[in-house]
């Protein structure tokens, strides 16, 4: 068990390291001189250029830049923005940090609960009309990108019916559509996998054993099948986070919400690499942490890993 966890933590660290190196490279080896971009029409002001170069550490040898970058990261310092010269990245993304986790976590909770529920219903009623209907909706949910669904929902609920605001952030009404849209893909994905894994466990020999013992159908599904289906579901729950991050970025852009995703996209357009890469690092850290937690949960659920001889 400790060996298993050590391996997981090692791969988490490796992932963060790769992310740090990749973002450093992206920051430093981009086409064009960021200082010239920042200078704008003052491009002839060599003093200012030299000062900016020093502020951003661009005058240092590459390895020192890297050391400075890494030590900065360890202190939580993501560097300075290009677009807003002299402004720390942390300040640029501060608003986003308050918004994106709300959307992401709400969508996460929604997709886990609703996805499991719908998948379980479909599996228990496999082959019935309910199942067929649910799975049809799921295929649509999986196939149609979030922004397409959002376009349709905005048009229907906001434009036509005027029930919900078209865009923005701040009121609960404004939060409803973004969260639903961000969750739709993951809900469909999770429902489909729950159904698949539950059907698989329902066909296992030990489920037949439970029936032979006189365990009522509810107990068979909940205590034996669903519990065992949790093991493979956990492994994909981590991967599903990727979909949630995509969903969050997409809805922020649709609904013009100044979250991390929206800032990341505008920063790319503005060639503000430190901000983009800071956000990339945050998402990576979040994703890695969730996956690490999933791996730990995996250990708690499955005694075959927990009790493996190391």
């Amino acid at each position: 068990m400790s060996q298993y966890l050590a391996r997981r933590i090692a791969s988490f660290v490796a992932m963060i390291a790769v992310a740090v190196i990749a973002t450093f490279i992206a920051n430093r080896f981009v086409p064009g001189d960021p200082v010239l971009v920042m200078l704008g029409d003052q491009s002839s002001n060599l003093d200012l250029a030299a000062r900016l170069r020093a502020d951003y550490g661009l005058d240092l040898p590459l390895h020192e830049q890297f050391v400075r970058y890494v030590t900065g990261l360890l202190r939580g310092d993501l560097g300075l923005s290009f677009r807003f010269p002299g402004v720390p990245v942390g300040e640029v993304i501060a608003d986003g940090l308050r918004i994106s986790p709300v959307i992401g976590l709400a969508a996460l909770v929604l997709s886990l609960t609703l996805g499991t529920l719908l998948g379980a219903i479909a599996a228990v009623r496999a082959g019935s009309l309910v199942d067929t209907g649910l799975m049809f909706v799921v295929v649509i949910g999986l196939s149609v990108p979030g922004f397409v669904v959002a376009t349709g929902l905005v048009w229907l609920l906001s434009v036509r019916l005027g029930w919900l605001p078209v865009a923005g952030w701040g009121t609960p009404q404004q939060a409803i559509l973004p969260i639903i849209v961000a969750a739709i893909g993951p809900i469909a994905y999770f429902a489909r996998l729950t159904r698949t894994f539950l059907l698989e466990t329902l066909g296992q020999d030990y489920v037949r054993t439970a029936r032979a013992k006189g365990v009522p159908e509810r107990g068979v599904v909940l205590h034996h099948a669903l519990r065992n289906a949790t093991v493979p579901l956990l492994t994909v729950a981590g991967i599903m986070m990727g979909g949630l991050i995509t969903g969050t970025i997409v809805v922020e852009n649709i609904f013009n919400i100044q979250g991390l995703g929206r800032i990341a996209v505008t920063s790319i357009a503005a060639r503000d690499y430190p901000v983009t890469m800071g956000i990339v690092l945050l998402f990576t850290l979040f994703y890695g942490t969730i996956n690490l937690l999933v791996d730990i949960a995996y250990v708690l659920v499955d005694p075959r890993i927990r009790l493996a001889v190391s």
């Binding site: 990749a22 490279i25 649509i140 698949t196 991050i245």
Partner: protein, 258 residues
């Protein structure tokens, strides 16, 4: 459905009633009429023509990515599964590491480094996609090489290269075909998402994702473009996904219950 989409994409330029780049400011946000069957966009280009050419762009990207990931994934997966040892360790670690990043984050890094555009989309999606194929091929290789018929081939004196080509690969084809078809839908969806975010295909090349983005602000008054592009996108992805499901059920009777 799939055949129809592919035909449309191949003959897009021939089918398109107008040039997809020709602007006509008189037709800006024009309603659908006899000339522009689906209306015009903000700068008065024919939406239908742009939709058709957009299909070609999407499918070209999808099939390029698919070809790249199939080749890279199969080669690396086979090496990892068959050779084992350090090669396996290296390749497995590389796939795990790639999978440790959310797809869109990889795309953002690539777009940031390469600058947005078709090449960046292809590189980003290939970078994401090869891992899935490599994983499947590796696990198939591992399980197939333990099959008694592979051992029988070794006992018969068949060379390893021949065993891989004649015994392993044919037994992988069904799984790979199913995976590839499902992959097309996924790649189209990812490409559209990138283009929607402005990280993918750039103007003046038409793309469904970009058309939806451009149509979004006008949703209240002129929903034609966003709606038409959404419908085309949904139709295509659902089509490929249903095709993939059908193929899986046909090729693998065991997984027929989905």
């Amino acid at each position: 459905m799939v055949v129809f989409i592919v035909l449309v994409a191949v003959f897009a330029h021939w089918l398109a009633p107008h040039s997809y780049t020709r602007t006509d400011l008189f037709m800006s946000w024009s309603l659908p009429d006899a000339r522009y069957l689906l209306g015009g966009d903000a700068v008065g280009r024919d939406i239908l023509s742009r939709l058709l050419v957009g299909a070609q762009v999407s499918l070209t990207i999808a099939f390029s990515v698919l070809t790249i990931v199939l080749i890279v994934g199969t080669v690396l997966g086979t090496i990892a599964g068959w050779h084992g040892g350090w090669a396996d360790g290296l390749i497995t670690r590389a796939t795990d590491l790639t999978l440790a990043f959310p797809e869109l984050i990889i795309a953002i890094i690539v777009a940031a480094i390469m600058g947005p555009g078709v090449p960046a989309v292809i590189v980003a999606l290939s970078l994401v996609g090869w891992t899935g194929i490599a994983r499947i091929v590796r696990s198939l290789t591992l399980s197939l090489r333990n099959e008694a018929f592979v051992e029988a081939a070794m006992a018969a004196g068949t060379r390893p290269a021949a065993i891989i080509v004649f015994h392993l690969l044919p037994n992988m084809v069904p799984a790979l075909v199913v995976r590839a078809t499902a992959g097309i839908g996924f790649i189209i969806m990812e490409e559209a998402t990138l283009s929607f975010l402005g990280l993918g295909v750039q103007e003046p090349q038409p793309t469904w994702g970009g058309m939806i983005r451009d149509g979004l602000p006008a949703l209240r008054t002129e929903p034609w473009m966003a709606m038409a592009a959404s419908a085309a996108l949904a139709f295509t992805i659902v089509g490929f996904n249903l095709f993939g499901d059908g193929l899986r059920d046909a090729l693998d009777p065991r997984g027929a219950r989905r």
